[in-house]
Structures are given as structure tokens and as C-alpha cells.
């Protein structure tokens, strides 16, 4: 397989992993939401992310010389093969933590997919066109929630602030470009994620200020997801998510 196609394949898998892992986390709220409408909302957003993952994995399957299918990518790879950002695999925590992460990811997704719409790769561009429409209302919702929680009761304010403090260092990875992506960037396929940081900081600051929350200091950072180095949490998540295919190989609906 030519080098560039291999890098494109890896790129699709990483983008699929981001979507699938966060989609699965959100789906864990099913029947655990704070109230019925919110339960529906969280799981509908989960579906959007899982649908997005399927687009990326299907495209990856077309590019793959080993003939793997979208299900193989989702169910038959172990932790070290997953390439998602760590922020997506963190356990849901409380509702404030889930929505704080969602705001950080939705804000990033808006910036990222806006650029990916102009990718020189037509399939990636079309997935981005689809994704951005959904990210737009995801962001509207996560933004509203953070303003309500931050500018709400003492309890909701404290929990939201704690959530951002705990999450902030995970943002760094979203703007860190590995060498492989730099090469895809030169061909017009990939997005220069490093260039998104300033806009992201600006957008986040605006919402946090409205929510009467403090923007956490940028004094720690953790990464490694794009290199397959994960937190302990992903293994537990995959053990549950992949259970059926591992126990009954080839099982179909």
C-alpha cells in the first residue's frame, strides 16, 4: 500500500475512533439521564457520533488492503490500536463533567469540520459537511447547559468548575499535530489542528465567562491518544463494547 494511502487510512481510523469512543460514552447515559428529555437528548447525540464513526470506518474499509470491515475496526482492535483523543474516553463523571467535555469537544468539532469541508479528499469533505450540521446543534445545547450550570446554583457552579479544571489539560492533544498528519496536511487532505487553538481558546473563554466560570490555567497537558497510548479507562470501555464480538466472533444481527 502506498505510504500516503496508509496515512489516509490511519487518519480515517483516528477520526472514527474519536467519534465512536465519545458516542459510546454518551450512550452510557441511556436510562441514567437526570430526566427523560435529557436522557433522550444525550442518546440522540450519541447516535450522531456513532453514525459519524460509521462514515469514517466505512471509508477506512475501502482504503484498507487487509479487507477489514467497519465492524472489524470497531470491535476487533485493542486499546493500543485505538487512536482517539484521551478526552473522549474519560468516564462520564457527573452531568456537569459530561457537558463540560461536550462543550470542549463540540467547540473543537465545529472548528475542525469547518476546515475538513475543504479537504482535497472528496469523501472526507462530504463527511465533514454532514458532521458540521449536527455539531452546530450539539454545540448550541452544550453551550446552553454550561451557562445554566455555571451560572446556576452554588452546587452546579462548583461541579462545573471542577469539571473544567479536571479536563483542561486534555485539550492540548486536540491541537497537537503528529508527523503523519503534517504530511497529509501538505497534500491538502488533513486539517491543520495546531492552527485551531486560538479560535478554540477564544470561543471557550467567551462561554465560560458568560457562565461565570474561570478559564483554568493552561499549566498541565496530557496526550498520547493519537499514538495509541491510553488511560486505563479505554480498556474497560472496550471490554464492554466489544464483548459480543469477542465472545461470539462473526455474530450478526
Amino acid at each position: 500500500m502506498p505510504d500516503l494511502q496508509q496515512k489516509l487510512l490511519n487518519y480515517c481510523i483516528a477520526l472514527g475512533d474519536d467519534s465512536l469512543v465519545l458516542g459510546h460514552r454518551l450512550s452510557e447515559w441511556c436510562s441514567n439521564g437526570p430526566f427523560l428529555e435529557e436522557d433522550l437528548a444525550l442518546t440522540n447525540v450519541a447516535l450522531d457520533f456513532i453514525g459519524r464513526a460509521r462514515f469514517f470506518y466505512s471509508y477506512a474499509a475501502e482504503l484498507d488492503s487487509k479487507g477489514r470491515s467497519e465492524d472489524d475496526f470497531a470491535y476487533l482492535r485493542d486499546c493500543r490500536d485505538y487512536r482517539n483523543f484521551l478526552i473522549n474516553e474519560l468516564p462520564n463523571g457527573d452531568f456537569a463533567f459530561t457537558m463540560a467535555r461536550q462543550l470542549m469537544v463540540d467547540t473543537y468539532d465545529m472548528l475542525f469540520y469547518q476546515r475538513l469541508q475543504h479537504s482535497s479528499d472528496a469523501t472526507l469533505a462530504s463527511i465533514a459537511c454532514k458532521a458540521i450540521k449536527e455539531s452546530r446543534y450539539h454545540l448550541r445545547r452544550s453551550r446552553d447547559w454550561i451557562v445554566r450550570l455555571g451560572d446556576g446554583t452554588d452546587e452546579s457552579h462548583t461541579r462545573s468548575q471542577n469539571a473544567f479544571n479536571e479536563l483542561w489539560g486534555y485539550a492540548n492533544e486536540m491541537f497537537d499535530m503528529p508527523d503523519d498528519e503534517v504530511q497529509l496536511l501538505d497534500t491538502g487532505i488533513a486539517v491543520n489542528r495546531a492552527a485551531l487553538r486560538q479560535d478554540w481558546d477564544h470561543a471557550m473563554t467567551e462561554v465560560l465567562e458568560e457562565a461565570t466560570l474561570e478559564v483554568p490555567a493552561n499549566d498541565w497537558a496530557i496526550g498520547g491518544g493519537r499514538q495509541g497510548m491510553h488511560s486505563e479507562h479505554l480498556g474497560f470501555m472496550l471490554a464492554e463494547m466489544q464483548f459480543l464480538q469477542r465472545s461470539y466472533p462473526g455474530l450478526q444481527w
Binding site: 458516542g23 428529555e37 435529557e38 433522550l40 437528548a41 440522540n44 447525540v45 450519541a46 447516535l47 450522531d48 457520533f49 456513532i50 453514525g51 459519524r52 460509521r54 462514515f55 472528496a122 469523501t123 469533505a125 462530504s126 463527511i127 459537511c129 454532514k130 458532521a131 450540521k133 449536527e134 452546530r136 446543534y137 448550541r140 445545547r141
Partner: protein, 157 residues
């Protein structure tokens, strides 16, 4: 349009949305292209929402409807670009939605302020949003302040 394409289109116009059965796939704007060639049919559909679980059923319904009419060689392919928008929903479809008790998408496309959502029961515009999502990803939950009925609103996308 040749005779065969016309016939296939007619058959397709009987396929309905599995979750909102008053709408046909054509009303929704999901069917993008039909191509017939010596008995083989290629239908191009576009997904409404990325994770919409109804897409699988739509695909199966298209295949079975055409199979029943004698078409054995049917391919349903998916296209993502241009991305589906509620702007493609037919006028007829909007009316059918309203009669069914679902407020049709107001205004055009997403990203702008939502304008003039009417209660499908009493036509009041004094309504409030209960939740950004209703029973499916494509709908939001609203309530009418006048007649107090809760209702689904088909979101603009």
C-alpha cells in the same frame, strides 16, 4: 425520464419513513437519484441524520418494494454530499406532518434563529421548547402555551 424510470419512481413513492409513516421518502428528500438500466436499478439515498437508525429500514424497504414488483437487481447506494437538509422536504410533506401532529421545520436550513413554530393543534405561535431532542434525532420537544399540548417539532437542519 424514460418509462422504466418513471415506473420505478412511482413504486418508490409508496415507500414511507418507518418512524413517521405519513411521509414518503420522496417527501423527505431522501431519494436523490434513480438510475435504471435494462432491468437493473440503482437508487441513491442520502441519510437524514448520521446515526439515524431508520436508514437501515429505509434501504430494506426500497429493496423489498422493488423486489415485489419484479426488480431483482437493485442497488441502494448512499451519498453524503450535498448533505441532506429539511429545505428538501416537499410542501405536501410539510402539510402531512402538520396534520399528523408534528410541527414542520420553520424557515430554511439550520444555524439561524428558529422562527414561527406553530402549535400543530391550535396554530398558536406562543410555544416553548422543552428539549432540543424529541423521540428521534430529527425532532425537538415543544409545548404550546395556549392549548398546553406538548408536540414534536421537526427541526430545521
Amino acid at each position: 425520464m424514460d418509462h422504466e424510470t418513471e415506473r420505478v419512481n412511482e413504486l418508490l413513492s409508496t415507500v414511507v419513513d418507518p418512524e413517521i409513516p405519513v411521509l414518503t421518502l420522496a417527501d423527505l428528500g431522501v431519494i436523490r437519484e434513480v438510475h435504471c438500466d435494462k432491468g437493473s436499478v440503482q437508487v441513491t439515498i442520502t441519510p437524514t441524520y448520521a446515526g439515524c437508525p431508520a436508514m437501515h429500514a429505509m434501504r430494506a424497504d426500497i429493496e423489498s418494494t422493488l423486489a415485489k414488483a419484479g426488480y431483482r437487481d437493485v442497488t441502494v447506494r448512499q451519498s453524503l454530499s450535498p448533505a441532506w437538509t429539511t429545505d428538501w422536504m416537499s410542501e405536501d410533506g410539510r402539510k402531512k406532518l402538520r396534520d399528523y401532529g408534528i410541527a414542520p421545520p420553520a424557515g430554511t436550513s439550520c444555524g439561524k434563529t428558529i422562527e414561527r413554530i406553530e402549535c400543530p393543534q391550535c396554530s398558536s405561535e406562543d410555544v416553548k421548547q422543552i428539549s432540543e431532542f424529541g423521540s428521534t434525532a430529527c425532532k425537538a420537544l415543544y409545548q404550546c402555551r395556549d392549548c398546553l399540548e406538548p408536540f414534536d417539532y421537526f427541526k430545521c437542519l
